[in-house]
Symmetry: C2
Subunit: 388 residues, 2 copies
C-alpha cells in the first residue's frame, strides 16, 4: 500500500493541534482524506448544539459526485444519527465505523436484535441516499460530535481494515482537535470582548469628563484620533517602536490625557475669559492629578507617561517637569502636538479659533521649540495631504 497510515496519522494529529480555527481544521482533514485515500467524495457533518442537528460542514469531490447538494443536515431523529448515538456494540463495527457492506452482512446474521436490525437497516438506507460506503463517527466522551461520510474509492476497491482503522483514529483526533480549537476560539473571543469593553468604558467615562469642560466638547476623541493618525504615519519608518502595544498605550493615553481636569473646579474650567495666575496654576495641575488617579493601575504605566507629560515642550519650557527633547516620552510628544493643534482650531468665548491653515503655520513656527520637529512635520504632512 502506497500510504503509510501510521505516519500520516501522526503528522496529521500534530498539525491539527496547532490549527485553532475549527473550520480550517475540518477542511484540512477532508482534503487529506480525499487526496491520500483517493475517495471520490467525502463530507463531514458536525453537531450543531443549539439545533441538536448535524450540519454538512465540508463536502469535497468531483462535481456531481459530492454529497448531494440538497442534503445539508440530519436531525437527531435521523436513523444514521440514532444509530451512532445509541452506540451499538462497537466491537461489531471496527471501533465504531459503519462500513456499508459489513452492515448488510450483519443484517443477515443473528448477532443483533430485531430492533437493532431495524435501526441498522434504516441507517444503511440513509447511507445509500448519500452515496456513502463508510460512515465514521467522532465522539467526545459519549457525545457524537460529528460524522465523516466517504464515497467509493477512485480505484473502486474495497476499503481495507488499515484504512478504516486510520479513519477511526483520525476522526477521534479530529474531535479532540476541534474541541481544542473551539476552546481557543472561545478564549480569544472572550479576550477581544474584554478588550473592547475596557476601551469602550474608558471612552465613555473620558467623554463624560470631557463634557464638563463646555468649551472643548469632543476634544478628547479628536485628540485621540489625531494622535493615532500621527503614530500610524510615524510607524511607516519604524514598526518596532510603533507596535500594537504602543498603539494601544497611545489610544488609552489619548483618551485619558485630560482626566485630571476632573480635579479642576468648574468655575475655572468654564471661565468666560483668560485665567488669572492662581487659576492657571490650578489648571496646570491637571497632568499630575491625572497621574494620581491612574497611578494604581500597573498596566497603564506607559499611558500614564502620556498623561503626565503632554504639556512638556521640546525646549524644556513646559510643565510639570520642564523635560527637554528626547527626555519627553514619545507617547506624550505625539499627544502634545495633537492636543495643541485641536486647542488652536477650537473657539473659546474670549477668542475665535484659528483656521486649520493658520494653526498649521503656527505649528510650523514653533516646531523644534515647542514640538519635536519630526512629529510636527508629520502633522503638517497630514494637512498637506488633506488627511486632517
Amino acid at each position: 500500500m502506497a500510504v503509510n497510515y501510521k505516519k500520516e496519522l501522526e503528522s496529521a494529529s500534530k498539525t491539527m493541534i496547532l490549527v485553532h480555527e475549527p473550520d480550517t481544521l475540518i477542511r484540512m482533514v477532508v482534503r487529506m482524506i480525499v487526496q491520500k485515500v483517493g475517495v471520490r467524495h467525502a463530507g463531514i457533518l458536525l453537531h450543531h448544539k443549539e439545533r441538536d442537528s448535524y450540519i454538512l460542514t465540508v463536502s469535497r469531490g468531483a462535481p456531481g459526485l459530492k454529497i448531494p447538494k440538497g442534503f445539508a443536515r440530519m436531525d437527531a431523529d435521523n436513523a444514521l444519527i440514532r444509530f451512532f448515538r445509541e452506540h451499538l456494540d462497537k466491537r461489531l463495527f471496527n471501533d465504531g465505523a459503519l462500513v456499508y457492506g459489513e452492515g448488510k452482512k450483519l443484517l443477515k446474521s443473528n448477532k443483533i436484535t430485531a430492533k437493532q436490525k431495524q435501526l441498522l437497516k434504516n441507517a444503511l438506507y440513509q447511507m445509500e441516499i448519500f452515496d456513502a460506503l463508510v460512515c465514521i463517527p467522532s465522539y467526545f466522551g459519549s457525545d457524537l460530535l460529528g460524522l465523516l461520510l466517504l464515497g467509493e474509492k477512485k480505484n473502486a476497491k474495497k476499503f481495507g481494515r488499515d484504512e478504516i482503522d486510520f479513519f477511526s483514529a483520525l476522526a477521534s483526533d479530529v474531535a479532540m482537535a476541534i474541541r481544542n480549537a473551539r476552546l481557543f476560539k472561545e478564549l480569544e473571543a472572550e479576550l477581544e470582548k474584554k478588550r473592547r469593553l475596557f476601551i469602550q468604558t474608558t471612552i465613555a467615562l473620558a467623554a463624560a469628563i470631557d463634557a464638563k469642560d463646555h468649551y472643548t466638547h469632543g476634544h478628547t476623541s479628536r485628540v485621540t484620533a489625531l494622535s493615532l493618525e500621527i503614530a500610524l504615519r510615524l510607524n511607516e519608518g519604524n514598526k518596532e517602536v510603533f507596535n500594537a502595544k504602543f498603539m494601544e498605550d497611545l489610544h488609552i493615553a489619548g483618551l485619558l490625557h485630560d482626566i485630571g481636569k476632573i480635579g479642576v473646579p468648574e468655575s475655572i474650567l468654564n471661565k468666560d475669559g483668560p485665567l488669572n495666575e492662581e487659576e492657571r496654576r490650578r489648571m496646570e495641575e491637571h497632568p499630575l492629578v491625572g497621574v494620581t488617579i491612574l497611578d494604581p493601575i500597573k498596566e497603564l504605566e506607559e499611558s500614564i507617561q502620556g498623561v503626565k507629560c503632554h504639556h512638556e515642550r521640546y525646549d524644556g519650557s513646559g510643565y510639570p517637569e520642564g523635560l527637554k527633547g528626547e527626555d519627553i516620552p514619545l507617547i506624550a510628544a505625539i499627544i502634545s502636538v495633537a492636543d495643541a493643534f485641536d486647542a488652536m482650531i477650537t473657539d473659546r468665548p474670549y477668542r475665535k479659533g484659528l483656521s486649520r491653515k493658520e494653526a498649521i503655520e503656527e505649528i510650523k513656527r514653533v516646531s523644534g521649540k515647542q514640538f519635536d520637529a519630526r512629529i510636527a512635520g508629520v502633522l503638517v504632512k497630514l494637512y498637506d495631504e488633506e488627511k486632517i
Copy 2:
C-alpha cells in the same frame, strides 16, 4: 509484550491535548513512562527561553535512583544539548533518540566524522553522569524544546525498538501538547490581565468622579463592597442567579451607579444645605444621565439596569420610572439598599449621619415599602452578625 504502545500513545496523546496546564502535563507523561515502561527513573529537561538553558522539570524514580539531586540544569554549551541541537543525522539514531549502547557502537564505526565522534563521546559522558540509558529529544520545528532522560529498566533488559519508537512519538506529542498548553495559559493570563485592567480603570475613574461630590467621599467603593457582600449572602440560596456573570455585572454597576452625577453642576452637588425643587430635579436626573453615558456599551447592558434603577422603590414611589416590586431589576434593588444605608450613616453639612444601629432600624422600618424585604433582611442579618 504486555504494553500495547500504539494504544498507549493514542490515549496519551488524546488526554494531553485536553490538559492545558504544562506542568501537570509533564508530570503526567513522566508518571506514565515510569509506570508503563517500568524504568527505574526518568526526568524531563525543558527549555527555559530567557536563560537558554534546560531545566530539570520532573524527576521520578525510587529514592536515590532519581536523576541526582544536585543536577538541575544544562546550559546551551552542554555536550548533550549541543548534540541534539546540531541535529546529527537522525537516521543513525532511531528518529533522533540517543541510546547509550548504540552511541558507544557508533563511536567505533566510521559512519560519522571525527568531530562528530568527539561531540557524541562528550554527550555519552553526560548520560553516564546522569545514569541515563536513553535520551529522547523533543523538537518543535527545529527548536529543541526538551529532553527526556530514562534510566535502566526495572527488569534490567535492553530497551526494544518498539519502546524507543514509542518514546520518540510520545516526546513529539508532548512537545506539541506543551506548546498548546502554553498558548492556552498565555491566552488565559492575557484575559485575566484585561479583566483586571478594565475593573481597575473603572474603579479609578469612578473614584475620581466620586471625589467631585465632597460630602460622599469613598461612597462609590463602600456601596460596591456592600452590594457584593449582600449578593454573596443571597447567593447561598441560589447559585444559579448569583453566578460569576451576575457578580461581575453588580461589581461594575456598583462602581458606576452614580456616574451620572458628573452631569450635575458642582454647585448643586456640594450645596451647603438641602436642595430646592429645581436642584432636586437636576440631581434626580443622574440615573438617566448615567444610562446615556454607558448606553453605547453593549456588554454593560445588565450593569446599566443597576445604574438606571438604583433609586426605584419597592412600592413604586421611586424614580426615574416608578417601577414596582419584582419589576425592579435585582441588581438595582441590591444597590438601592447598600446606597441608602451608606447615605444614612454619612454626615452632611446640614445634618449629622445616623449611627449604624439607627440606620438599620430605619432600613427595617421601610423594608417592604422602600426596599425589597428579602434584600433589606440580608443587610440586617449582616449587621446582626457584625459583618458590616
